[in-house]
Symmetry: C2
Subunit: 321 residues, 2 copies
């Protein structure tokens, strides 16, 4: 739930004049999303999203994110397309913040995803990986393996508040992961945060893939691990085998995994679970009580990490070994 920056009628009229998008009819703050300010912008030509990028989205990364969306949309993926202004630019400033107008995508995100949703999202993720191949800009994953010890160091007290000794156990887990982390897997541009609320469906088909603001370059199989964690696990941390298998099958219908990726998947899944455990822990520690966002439970992801620690091979997820 997030509208951090208020945009008024005169401000949007002046801003919209830089674009060839017609006359502004309405502007409504959207309550979803926790990182940036989003408005539903309608004009006499159509519907758009106006995004104002708040502090947590680094301004220097915006050309990478917007360029990637434009590249993927051009390849036929249903992701928002940044609209260029009359001057050819798609990034400008509004209320002192970087701001962009993007195309509006219909569809609703699934609150209770089933295997059919998982199959579709697996295939879409593989299409993102394939279509990203020709994209020339670069961005390192700032929330990867090497960043995790630093996140944990800042959130040890919160971790121990959830469960006595949890910080030490998390530290031991990070050491195991650092030693076991795979090298030389196929890599490229990844979404990095493909949770159900970032995927819109209409009549069972995906009509929107949004929120590319964690996109970066990393192992494709790591992105699959992030997505499996987000779509195919119960609240107690155990796998939903039918969901996981459908997601992997969907993925492999577009981009088959190599043997090294299949072998690495349990470690990647454990790492992906730790990434969200740690960022949620960090946010928990750093969200003031009065903030207009909902804090998300880090322990959901600790339980997934525990589950992955006991996995021998992808057969334990319900995937074909």
């Amino acid at each position: 739930m997030a509208v951090y920056t208020d945009v008024g009628d005169a401000e949007i009229a002046a801003f919209a004049a830089a674009y060839d998008i017609g006359r502004v009819i309405s502007l409504k703050g959207i309550a979803e999303g926790v990182e940036n300010t989003n408005y539903a912008l309608t004009t006499d030509r159509g519907a758009y999203v106006l995004t104002l990028y708040e502090r947590r989205t680094a301004a220097q990364d915006l050309p990478y994110f917007l360029g990637l969306m434009e590249h993927l949309a051009a390849a036929g993926l249903p992701c928002p397309t940044p609209v260029r202004g009359r001057d050819g630019e798609c990034l400008r400033t509004l209320k002192g913040r970087p701001a962009a107008v993007l195309t509006w995508l219909g569809g609703l995100w699934p609150r209770d995803p089933g295997p059919a949703h998982c199959r579709a999202v697996g295939a879409a993720l593989a299409r993102v990986h394939r279509a990203g191949q020709g994209y020339a800009m670069t961005r390192a994953n700032t929330l990867s393996l090497t960043a995790w010890p630093g996140l944990l160091a800042q959130a040890r007290a919160v971790a121990d508040g959830f469960d006595d000794g949890l910080a030490d156990r998390a530290e031991a887990t990070l050491e195991v992961l650092a030693a076991a982390w795979p090298k030389d897997l196929p890599r490229g541009h990844i979404h990095g945060d493909l949770f159900p609320d970032n995927v819109f469906f209409t009549d069972g088909r995906i009509t929107g893939l949004i929120d590319f603001y964690f996109a970066c370059e990393d192992d494709f199989a790591y992105d699959l691990a992030v997505t499996l964690n987000a779509w195919a696990f119960a609240a107690d941390g155990s796998v939903l085998r039918g969901h996981a298998r459908a997601l992997a099958d969907g993925y492999e219908s577009v981009r088959p995994l190599c043997a090294a990726e299949r072998a690495a998947l349990p470690v990647l899944c454990r790492g992906a679970a730790m990434r969200f455990f740690l960022t949620r822990l960090f946010d928990w520690a750093n969200t003031p009580d009065g903030a207009l966002v909902v804090r998300r439970d880090p322990m959901e992801y600790w339980r997934r990490a525990q589950f992955h620690a006991g996995v021998r091979d992808v057969g334990d997820y319900g995937l074909t070994p």
Copy 2:
């Protein structure tokens, strides 16, 4: 900023099936509004607002509010029209709350209203008063003169927190108002809360009058007083004479005031200022620190009440005496 009740994809699909509004394309929580939960609902037929009525809107009053909007819309006023379901009903239940689908209105509310906005809103208010004449349902004003001492009694400590002795001064003001309150003025259905964020403009014309959830029966001139307070005063509590005159002129272009209404206006304005002072004070005292709404400053309205106390006649507002 308010989305109190989360509605999912399966829930909205089932709910929308009760209406002849087409297939749901998207549903986004709207961040504006503090009383109820509002969603922008788009279908393949058009755009709608889905409102879930939260605790503070009394369920037994909803037929009055929805009926009034339907009545006014039928008379040509640009207010939301409740959409009736296939069963003829416009009020049903979603997530355990009363819920309604209303037509979507374009336009933006003015952040910095000028005299031209005021003239238009004055005329629109008078049209509401005239068009409401044939509406048969009734609702007393639960936030009128007689309710104010009770509100103050619950917020004395907060009042004194703003300024030592303020509770006593407010009590004395309420006694003056009770003695001076006009009787037998022309009355009927009033909006009761026509603030700038409830009026949408497109190209200088009003294209939306919303939020009829404080509507009731009371003196027409009291509604004009509420509207003058909301549109024609500076933050220090002093009148913006050009704004006030334009608003009154706009009103009288549709419904001229009688001599008794003109004479009563300073008292009504002072009372209207106290009404918002007291409800803001009450909300200030009763909004938990972590609540997802922004608290509004009661003192803005105390300063207006002070200003009105020194007014001799409508000439002091810049109106033709």
